[in-house]
């Protein structure tokens, strides 16, 4: 796996897709490859988000620590990202991610990433656009949910 391949992988991540190739190559160069043995935590819920990960190989499970015990929310595979929103905010990790088998990931540290975002406004614009898309999608989902909710409540109200 070389820089060029990593660059190609990064390009497929929606959040980074719109970034100019030269900047993205730099980001690939500033990132490092990390291997996680099976069972090792990639991020821990509650920790400060200091990096995002792009899974190159292997699988990881997303676990939320609920009062009733850990709940597995999802399983991530190659080309999926972990914690990319976290490095844009200062919020702690909202879930734990654990390597299921041996995971090879590209680690994008917060500090160089944020510096690039700050210094190259084009990057911020493309990230902003991507986030706006996501927000829009979430809004739509929310609207649907609320409508559903309302409908259910009305039904329930009738039932009660």
């Amino acid at each position: 796996m070389s820089l060029k391949e990593e660059f190609e992988l990064l390009r497929r991540v929606p959040l980074f897709a719109e970034i100019e190739p030269s900047r993205l190559k730099l980001l690939a160069f500033l990132s490092e490859r990390v291997g996680f043995d099976p069972g090792r935590l990639i991020v821990r819920q509650g920790d400060t988000a200091d990096a995002a990960y792009l899974i190159i190989d292997g699988h990881a499970e997303v676990i939320a620590e609920a009062p009733s015990g850990p709940v597995i929310l999802a399983t991530l595979g190659p080309n999926e990202t972990v914690g990319e929103i976290g490095i844009l905010t200062n919020m702690p990790r909202n879930a734990t991610v654990r390597a299921q088998d041996r995971v090879i990931a590209l680690r994008i540290s917060k500090e160089p990433f944020m510096r690039m975002v700050r210094e190259f406004p084009n990057i911020s614009v493309s990230i902003m656009q991507e986030l706006a898309h996501r927000l829009d999608a979430v809004n739509n989902q929310l609207r649907t949910c609320m409508a559903e909710n309302k409908r259910l409540r009305e039904q329930g109200g009738i039932a009660a």
Binding site: L3, S22, K25, L26, F29, L30, D37, R40
Partner: protein
């Protein structure tokens, strides 16, 4: 903290040289003519015998005569003794030509022996040769003697200045720049040594010659003799007058040069702020202004100096004018014979040389005099600590006990505002006391007053009924510990810095082999001759008794314990892992570290994490080591095989050529350079990414871009050698596992292995000392302790590696009881100038540990933990309070809430003691200042 104790030095100097300190011989008054201070009547004889005279004399001649009168007389005597030989060596050639080589030889008898011509000639010639030899020997001896005398005087002078410096009040260093002191002790006084050698013999000899010649002239003809000296009074009046102005200019120049030194230091210290504010131009202009001032002064001084020379030459030539005119007239008229005039003219010619010598000497004397006085003046700041408080090594240092009583203590600033204003309290010495107050409340000043670092302007402090001001420096420095917010670490090892409070005088003499021992003894005798301290710097100075240990080994454990108490033992352990151990000095430790290497390998295998460390193997390429390390397969010792310089190394190039790798590596370099130029080219040059990530610095990037442009035409093979070298330097830095460049592929790795074998096999014998090869069963003295245990590289890109490998390593180290050894290596860590190679937190810890190790009766801490985080602070506080159970602590705290666990608290505000008492009670009262202060945090 005082770095060196000064033992009985002043006493020694005073006794030996006291005899010579009587009023100066009359002849020297002349030299001090325009020095008002010296014109004053000689100092009254000492009233009481034990009063010690200031070793630093106010004028240079007093200094020279006080410390070298005997040597000066010897020098004078030697000069006089040499004179007859010199005279005869000039006379003998005349006798040889006039008597021995004459065609009509008249038989000569010496001591009744008649001599034939040839034997006579030979006798005279050999006598001549002998005289030449004797003269040369005299000259050699006198010059060496002078040089040695001068150097001794210079050494004494510098030493006295430095000794003075140690007595300066602390306030001096707050108000003045140390940059001005440095040229005074170094460059400015350098010429004084040379002058000290000439001070007596030269004027005596030249003056004597002048007088003899004058006497001869008067004998020949009183009138012409009078004519020869007629202008001396004029010269003697005018020249010093002109010289005085030159002296003033010289003084100004010396002062301005000091300002230059000051400026340079300011610039160096304030570099970050100059750059941050783009203040360079202002600095440059200021500097140029200073240089301009020096130029002006120099120019004026040259004009006056050379005018004086011109005038002197003119006056000097006026005399021959009189000789020719008046003498000629007298010869023509009859009363004077022509032979007489010629004799006087020849004698007059002989006058000129000594006279000019004296004049030159006068100028150099004036120069030295000014330098000396200007330096001495600067070394007597107001408030200098009385020398009697710094006596010799005391027999015993009394322990402090009883109560500390502070009565009406005040400290006034220069503008007479009171920083500490009438503070009074009494506390038993064995209590742990907190001092609280906002900044500017006078709490830091109170701490420094209690440590006697500064003197109060009113009131007093007594400990156990004795005035603190009357304690000897040794008692205060050893029985009271003081740690300020920024403890100073001296350049050297951490160990040395921790022991500053335990090294006051040699405790055990150094063991030398006989030859070295004799040389040391000679050095110490010489030190005593120049009035320097005669302690052996190589002796063991550690005061084990004060530290409460028996020997070095116990001390080392004690240090570890203190560091553990402060919670920084692990930091020193980490330093130790990165440090180097000398296997020759400690073969046992090296052996056990090798055992640790095996144990770690076993442990990693047991835990199933062997892949986290890639072990060195001479037969395989290490993907986690750089190409350079893979090629050398060893640690470079000197600069020859420095990784940065490998591309320039002739032998390395030879090896690469032999395996045909040069062009391919240059090609790899080209690829790296292309990537770097592509990624970094449009970043601003000062961007931190360059330093953190780039293989090429911002400055070099354009150059590499240019090299790449040149490769467009004919590839890398068409490049000039320097370009090829630059490209070649890049792949050496590549680490395959980390940098993910394609260029170090499997095939390349195999070829690098071949190069490694050739490098090793062909290495010429002299170069073998420049590298220590990795050896699976041997200790590598050039590598760090950690590298020796790992014998490999921690794998890049393994999430577990940075945690699990050090943990396994620590367990192995503990299991083999090597932790103490590693900590000792860590104590040998060089802290850098002013401790710059340690974190601020560790510097503070070292400052505290230093004070704890000397086990004082009273420990004063002034915001000594401000660089630590809350948790570390709490740990340090707990550790110190346990360590000092039953002994006194006065702790100036920067947060009121920290006062909770102390026996007693003093709350200061505006220099006054606002309240004091048990902290629990004060915290309970809602209106107490302490509660208020704690609430605002």
């Amino acid at each position: 903290m005082k770095p060196v104790a000064i033992k009985g030095l002043i006493g020694a100097v005073g006794n030996v040289e006291g005899v010579l300190a009587t009023p100066r011989p009359r002849i020297w008054r002349w030299f001090d003519r325009d020095s008002r201070r010296a014109a004053a009547p000689p100092a009254p004889p000492p009233q009481r015998a034990p009063v010690e005279r200031d070793p630093l004399e106010p004028s240079i001649y007093r200094f020279i005569l006080r410390y070298s009168l005997r040597q000066q007389l010897v020098l004078l005597l030697l000069t006089l003794l040499s004179f007859p030989f010199l005279y005869y060596s000039l006379e003998l050639p005349k006798i040889i030509t006039n008597r021995a080589i004459k065609p009509h030889y008249v038989s000569q008898t010496i001591f009744g022996h008649p001599f034939a011509q040839i034997p006579y000639l030979m006798l005279l010639c050999f006598a001549f040769l002998l005289l030449v030899f004797i003269n040369g020997a005299f000259k050699y001896y006198i010059n060496t003697y002078k040089g040695r005398l001068g150097e001794r005087m210079l050494r004494r002078f510098r030493y006295q200045l430095y000794q003075r410096l140690l007595l300066f009040p602390l306030s001096y260093f707050h108000k003045n720049s140390s940059a001005q002191i440095i040229p005074m002790i170094t460059a400015e006084c350098d010429t004084l040594g040379g002058f000290a050698g000439d001070a007596v013999a030269l004027p005596a000899f030249q003056g004597g010659t002048l007088l003899t010649n004058l006497f001869f002239m008067f004998m020949q003809n009183p009138v012409l003799g009078a004519a020869a000296v007629a202008l001396y009074p004029v010269q003697g009046y005018v020249i010093p007058k002109l010289q005085r102005k030159v002296n003033q200019l010289n003084r100004m120049r010396v002062r301005t040069v000091r300002q230059v030194a000051d400026r340079v230091q300011e610039t160096a210290s304030g570099m970050a702020d100059i750059v941050a504010n783009d203040a360079g131009k202002l600095q440059l202009s200021y500097f140029a202004h200073l240089l301009g001032t020096i130029y002006d002064i120099r120019f004026e001084s040259y004009q006056r100096k050379f005018f004086a020379k011109f005038l002197n030459n003119f006056l000097g030539q006026l005399t021959p004018f009189f000789f020719f005119s008046i003498g000629g007239y007298l010869v023509i008229r009859g009363p004077l014979s022509i032979g007489g005039l010629l004799a006087v003219l020849i004698a007059y010619k002989d006058l000129a040389s000594p006279f000019n010598e004296l004049l030159t000497f006068y100028q150099s004397f004036q120069d030295s005099k000014i330098k000396y006085e200007q330096i001495v003046e600067q070394f007597a700041p107001p408030g200098i600590i009385e020398a009697r408080l710094q006596p010799g090594e005391p027999e015993t240092v009394t322990r402090l006990a009883g109560e500390i009583t502070v009565a009406n203590l005040s400290l006034a600033e220069d503008d007479s505002s009171r920083v500490v204003d009438g503070i009074s309290f009494t506390v038993p010495l064995d209590r742990q006391i907190a001092v609280i107050g906002q900044s500017g409340s006078g709490k830091s000043e109170l701490a420094r007053l209690l440590a006697r670092l500064i003197q109060p302007s009113g009131g007093r402090i007594t400990i156990g009924g004795t005035d603190l001001a009357s304690f000897s420096a040794a008692t205060v420095g050893r029985r009271i510990g003081y740690v300020g917010p920024t403890p100073y670490l001296f350049a050297g090892t951490l160990f040395d810095n921790l022991l500053v409070g335990l090294r006051h005088a040699p405790t055990r003499p150094a063991q030398y082999p006989p030859a070295v021992g004799r040389r040391r003894a000679r050095q110490l005798t010489e030190a005593a001759k120049a009035g320097n301290i005669d302690f052996d710097i190589h002796a063991d100075w550690i005061d084990y008794k004060s530290a409460g240990v028996a020997d070095r080994e116990e001390l080392s454990h004690r240090i570890t314990k203190v560091l553990a108490g402060l919670g920084c033992e692990n930091d020193v352990y980490s330093l130790g892992l990165r440090g180097r151990l000398d296997p020759e000095a400690e073969p046992g430790a090296a052996q056990r570290l090798l055992e640790a290497r095996k144990a770690l390998a076993r442990r990693l295998a047991d835990e199933g994490i062997s892949h986290l460390v890639e072990t060195y193997d001479v037969e395989s390429f290490n993907r986690n080591a750089s190409v350079a390390e893979n090629l050398l397969f060893g640690t470079p010792i000197g600069p020859v095989f420095d990784f940065e310089a490998l591309a320039d190394n002739h032998y390395v190039l030879q090896v690469l050529a032999k395996v045909g790798l040069v062009d391919d590596l240059i090609g790899a370099g080209r690829e790296v350079a292309e990537t770097m130029v592509e990624l970094f080219a449009d970043l601003p040059p000062d961007h931190s990414f360059f330093e953190q990530y780039s293989f090429i610095s911002a400055n070099d990037l354009p150059e590499f871009a240019a090299i790449l442009a040149r490769t467009e035409k004919g590839g890398t093979s068409a490049l000039a050698t320097p370009d090829r070298t630059r490209l070649l330097s890049l792949p050496f830095k590549l680490i395959a596992a980390r940098h993910r460049f394609d260029v170090i592929d499997e095939a390349m790795q195999q070829r690098l292995l071949a190069a490694r074998r050739v490098f090793r096999a062909d290495l010429p014998v002299p170069a073998r000392a420049q590298i220590e090869f990795f050896d699976a069963v041997g200790y590598n003295a050039a590598a760090s302790v950690q590298d020796n245990i790992l014998f490999g590289k921690i794998a890049y890109g393994e999430a577990d590696a940075p945690v699990r490998v050090p943990a396994a390593l620590a367990e192995v180290v503990d299991a083999l009881e090597l932790r103490q050894t590693v900590i000792e290596v860590g104590l040998g860590h060089n802290v850098g100038p002013a401790g710059s190679r340690l974190s601020l937190a560790l510097r503070q810890m070292a400052g505290i540990a230093r004070a704890v190790l000397k086990r004082p009766d009273l420990l004063i801490l002034d915001e000594a933990t401000s660089a630590l985080d809350g948790q570390a602070q709490a740990r340090v506080m707990k550790g110190i309070k346990e360590e000092f159970a039953g002994r006194g602590i006065i702790w100036v705290l920067h947060r009121a809430s920290l006062a909770r666990n102390f026996d007693h608290v003093l709350v200061l505000s505006n220099g006054k003691l606002q309240e004091q008492g048990d902290p629990t009670e004060l915290f309970q009262r809602r209106d107490s200042l302490l509660t208020l202060l704690a609430a605002t945090e």
